[in-house]
């Protein structure tokens, strides 16, 4: 039966209203269904709203019988994708302990732990075993890969190919293609490493190149200087 897919425009209208609700009337049990729909929308349209999701978790806290395991799981996966922001922890603070001890939350907490402690190999292995959890949210793989690259960029000026491969879970020809793209649009440079293998020089930032750190230690804000204007005149 022909049921038309809702046009993009009205989807945007719904999310605008939900954000408003969260800002203006968050302590209201009636908005719970709207917030749940919004989670599903975030998943489908690859968007994200921490405020709305925290608002929903709070409502679940106020009325535990209405908690939906599926929705909470989706919120947590989205939160993982927001790393390095601590959103995953922020969500956990609002989820009762006995719920956290069940699946899929136990697995999600393990995944988070691996990501927090640089255990990328362990993470990808575990994620492969839990495809049903992570495949439910489009964009998951790319988001984690972005986080992995972020941490590598903080840590390395030059990272061995094998370390990079393990972190983003891409090998062989796919990795070659990935690197090609990065060389082209992000300024990565492929060099020869100590041990003979490939080494990738990552873009220079203040985090992996301390000489680039802006020495803001002695900067004086303007409003402090204005204090002495009366004296100077």
């Amino acid at each position: 039966m022909g049921r038309e897919i809702e046009p993009q425009k009205s989807q945007q209208q719904v999310s605008y209203t939900v954000e408003q609700l969260v800002a203006v009337n968050p302590y209201n049990p009636d908005i719970l269904p709207d917030l749940e729909n919004y989670v599903n929308e975030q998943v489908a349209s690859q968007t994200y709203s921490l405020d709305a999701n925290l608002c929903l978790l709070r409502l679940y806290q106020f009325e535990p019988e209405r908690l939906s395991t599926q929705i909470v799981a989706r919120i947590l996966v989205k939160a993982l994708m927001a790393m390095p922001a601590p959103d995953f922890s922020l969500c956990l603070f609002l989820i009762p302990e006995r719920v956290q001890m069940e699946q899929p939350f136990k697995t999600l907490i393990v995944l988070s732990h691996y990501l927090e402690t640089g255990g990328f190999r362990l993470f990808w292995d575990e994620a492969a075993k839990s495809r049903h959890i992570v495949d439910a949210v489009p964009g998951f793989e790319q988001a984690i890969q972005a986080y992995a690259v972020h941490v590598l960029s903080l840590t390395y000026q030059k990272v061995p190919r094998s370390v990079l491969a393990e972190a983003i879970n891409i090998e062989g020809l796919s990795l070659d293609k990935f690197l090609e793209q990065r060389v082209a649009d992000r300024g990565w440079v492929i060099e020869k490493g100590q041990g003979g293998g490939q080494v990738i020089a990552l873009p220079k930032t203040e985090f992996n190149h301390p000489e680039l750190k802006k020495n803001s230690g002695d900067a004086v804000p303007l409003d402090h200087v204005t204090r002495i204007f009366p004296i100077l005149s």
Partner: protein, 542 residues
């Protein structure tokens, strides 16, 4: 889990029967009104009508305390019905009197369930009156802060009471079922939210920045004949919301509620010591849980220095004990923040000295790592890590807010006590963060003494393989680069490094001397001295 210090209030406090019994025992007659009380209410009523804020403040802060101490040490004040006819049965005054009446009860005695419910009703009536904008009084900020503070406190107390289902009588359970709206979390949050919105305080603060409004400059008081009550209650409600969200474990939203207040400046929140401390304590705690350690350290440092310098002036005030308690708790939180983020340069000398005195030994143990290389170092390292773990547990439990479970119990299930659930969850999550950061203690120890070291060599010292070391170093980087409120990455590492293939190069950040600020301060100071000298010359010419 280590014993939770003072987490349980005196057990008598939550036992309804014991509370009722105690009040009866002391032979309390609600209708007896001593002359001093009659005089008190008559004068207070008059001062409020005449908008004499100074006198109101004197009576509220001093006379009320003196009378309570002298006549009502362990009984409630006379009932509002007994005093109403001395004050023209003024509806609003009676609400205010009742608010003080209940606050006194909670402080000196234990409230019964019925009294808790009545107090809720009183707050509803009082806030409704204020929200309808029909109040035309000016009340001291101290009083208005106490109202909001007490409102949140009684909510917290009720949740704790309700969660102890084990020894509840049939009567109590029936009352709880009947009055399920009392201290309902939605009600509490919506009242605070309503006060914020109806007062338009956020817009007022915004417009003040552009010079279009006066609020902070007058300490919130209205000098054009109006009332300060709604505006200032709205202002303090933002802090109330921060507090409630922290009790629920929602630190992100808590900080959002506080955002309109600029805590880098003085403001109405600093006009009352209680509100100043409550604001910074909760801001700092939320920052700790959000892993924004530098923010926490900076604010704790400021207020601990302030308390250090000014606490002697508050010795006689009824809030003195609370001030001291919060002071101790904030030192504990500061110790935790500094252990995760060792940036001693952010801490003032006086505060540092106090910190060393209170927690020097414990802080040393938190960063202890065995690098001696002899004997059974692996089990020694594990012992040190376990000891540190225990200290984190102890400090957190001592200093954390009294978390609550906001939902009502299911009265049909077997009656158990679940009042510790919320605290246990927050502690558990905090300790799992501790476990993750534990991995960094070893790396930090060695990075402090080397300028360059190969991955292989460092892995050897730490007794791990290279792959594990790479993980540890990435963890270090991740944990020391926090995401701030704008989503930017900020490094708070004291010792930093980068890896070049298989070599680690360490970077030590040297503390920067702040010449700019120093000169500015001296210029202003010199100008002050010159002005003083000029004045002397003029006087001696006479």
């Amino acid at each position: 889990m280590a014993a939770n210090y003072e987490y349980e209030e005196a057990s008598g406090h939550y036992d309804d029967q014991a509370a009722a019994l105690r009040q009866q025992e002391v032979g309390y007659d609600p209708n007896f009104v001593p002359d001093s009380v009659k005089s008190f209410v008559v004068h207070l009523y008059r001062h409020i009508r005449e908008k004499n804020v100074y006198e109101i403040h004197q009576m509220y802060e001093t006379s009320f305390q003196t009378l309570s101490e002298r006549l009502f040490k362990d009984t409630p004040w006379p009932s509002v019905d007994a005093v109403a006819h001395y004050v023209d049965n003024d509806h609003v005054f009676c609400l205010l009197y009742r608010e003080m009446w209940f606050r006194h009860l909670y402080a000196r005695l234990s409230p019964t369930l019925k009294q808790r419910i009545d107090s809720w009703d009183n707050y509803c009536s009082l806030f409704q009156v204020v929200l309808h904008g029909v109040v035309n009084m000016q009340l001291p900020n101290q009083w208005l802060w106490d109202m909001v503070d007490e409102f949140v406190y009684q909510f917290q107390s009720f949740c704790q009471y309700r969660a102890k289902m084990k020894n509840k009588t049939e009567q109590e359970i029936a009352l709880l079922r009947q009055f399920d709206q009392a201290w309902n979390v939605y009600g509490v949050l919506n009242f605070l939210q309503a006060l914020v919105e109806k007062s338009a305080i956020i817009q007022i603060l915004e417009q003040e920045k552009q010079g279009l409004e006066q609020f902070t400059a007058t300490d919130g008081y209205d000098y054009s004949g109006g009332s300060n009550v709604l505006k200032v209650l709205g202002y303090f409600s933002m802090i109330g919301l921060l507090r409630v969200h922290c009790l629920l474990g929602d630190y992100h939203t808590g900080l959002k509620c506080l955002q309109p207040i600029d805590i880098s400046q003085q403001g109405v929140y600093t006009s009352v010591i209680g509100s100043h401390i409550a604001t910074i304590y909760h801001y700092g705690f939320a920052s700790l849980m959000l892993r924004r350690y530098v923010d926490g350290i900076r604010e704790f440092n400021k207020i601990l220095l302030y308390i250090y310098k000014t606490k002697q002036y508050h010795q006689k005030s009824p809030q003195y004990e609370q001030i001291l308690k919060k002071n101790e708790q904030m030192y504990a939180l500061l110790a935790i923040c500094l252990s995760f983020c060792p940036q001693m340069k952010l801490v003032d000398e006086a505060v540092n000295a106090q910190l060393r005195e209170k927690y020097g030994e414990k802080m040393g143990k938190l960063q202890r790592y065995d690098d001696e290389g002899y004997g059974d170092k692996l089990s020694r390292r594990q012992r040190y890590a376990d000891e540190a773990f225990g200290i984190y547990d102890e400090l957190f439990s001592y200093a954390c807010p009294k978390f609550i479970t906001p939902s009502a119990p299911s009265f049909d299930e077997p009656l158990v006590n679940y009042n510790q659930d919320a605290y246990r969850l927050q502690l558990k999550l905090f300790l799992s963060e501790v476990r993750q950061q534990e991995l960094l203690v070893g790396a930090r120890t060695f990075l402090k003494v080397y300028s360059t070291i190969s991955l292989g060599k460092l892995a050897n010292y730490l007794d791990v393989d290279e792959s594990t070391l790479r993980m540890t170093l990435m963890t270090y980087k991740h944990k020391t680069h926090a995401v701030d409120s704008d989503g930017k990455i900020i490094s708070n590492a004291d010792v930093d490094f980068y890896i070049d293939d298989d070599m680690i190069r360490v970077v030590n950040s040297k503390p920067v001397k702040r010449y700019g600020d120093f000169f500015l301060r001296q210029i202003v100071k010199l100008e002050g001295v010159i002005n003083d000298v000029d004045r002397i010359k003029v006087e001696s010419a006479n």
